[in-house]
Amino acid sequence: MSTHFLNVLWIALLVATVLTWLIGKTGHAGTAAVAGILVIAAIKGWMIIQDFMALRRVTFLWRALVLGWLVLTLAIILLAYWLGLK
């Protein structure tokens, strides 16, 4: 993993974090905000798992376990929020 790529990733994660924070700060709520925030969280989690944890070059099973955790967790949260928005 090149260090340059790690640096770019780091900056991207920082920006994404500020973005999430801004959505909350500006008082956004409801379907669009929840969906946006969860998508950002998914992307951030995905980057961390693939490149910081370095599972990108590991067999499918291990990646599936951890990425699956991320997707399942966010999906269930989405479901619970969606039920609350109805």
Binding site: W21, V34, M53, R57, V58, A80
Partner: protein, 194 residues
């Protein structure tokens, strides 16, 4: 080791010791259960959760996210450095990661301090039960991660790891990334989304 950089062969096991991965998966399962419990309890008490969430300090939450991401990045750089046999540089990156952990705890100290000063505790209401259980449990993981990183740093600076042997460092690094990963879900869930 070459295959890892250039080839297409997939490694059979994740970086670090398998034992830590079993532990990581168990921890992820615990946090999964906590997150799901939070989301569905909120569903039953929407008004309370939305109202109480506004009393949280989302600036502190954001700052802590930045710190943990930075800590994760430092550890990733430390692993990259040791793979290039840059022992001193690797040790410095580890120290920086521990530093970000210290920063996280300082922010938490002020955040909790404000809450406790307002007389809030685990039993104030259901939202605060969740907020405090989740974040304190996570903060203890930060502490554990720092303890692990401390041992890894100590061994690194004594020349215990090299480009050939950094199994132990990857073990500690994997745990630290897990602590970051969990927070990536926790922050929007508890501080931001409504």
């Amino acid at each position: 080791m070459n295959a890892q950089h250039h080839g297409h062969a997939l490694r059979p096991y994740p970086p670090g010791d398998l034992a830590i991965w079993v532990f990581i998966l168990a921890e992820l399962a615990a946090f999964f259960a906590l997150f799901v419990a939070y989301a569905f309890t909120r569903l039953k008490h929407l008004a309370l959760f939305d109202e109480m969430q506004r009393t949280l300090d989302s600036d502190a939450g954001m700052l802590n996210t930045l710190l943990l991401i930075t800590g994760s990045w430092c550890v990733a750089r430390a692993v990259a450095a040791i793979k290039a046999n840059h022992v001193n540089s690797s040790a410095r990156w580890l120290l920086a990661a521990i530093g970000s952990g210290v920063g996280f705890l300082i922010v938490k100290y002020f955040e909790y301090g404000a809450k406790f000063a307002a007389g809030i505790d685990l039993e104030t209401n259901l939202f605060y039960t969740f907020y405090l259980s989740l974040t304190m449990f996570h903060a203890m993981h930060v502490v554990l991660g720092m303890v692990i990183l401390f041992f890894v740093w100590n061994k690194t600076r004594r020349g215990g790891y090299s480009s050939h042997d950094h199994h132990g460092m990857e073990t500690g690094a994997s745990y630290w990334h897990m602590v970051d990963l969990v927070w990536i879900v926790l922050f929007p869930l508890v501080y931001v989304m409504r």
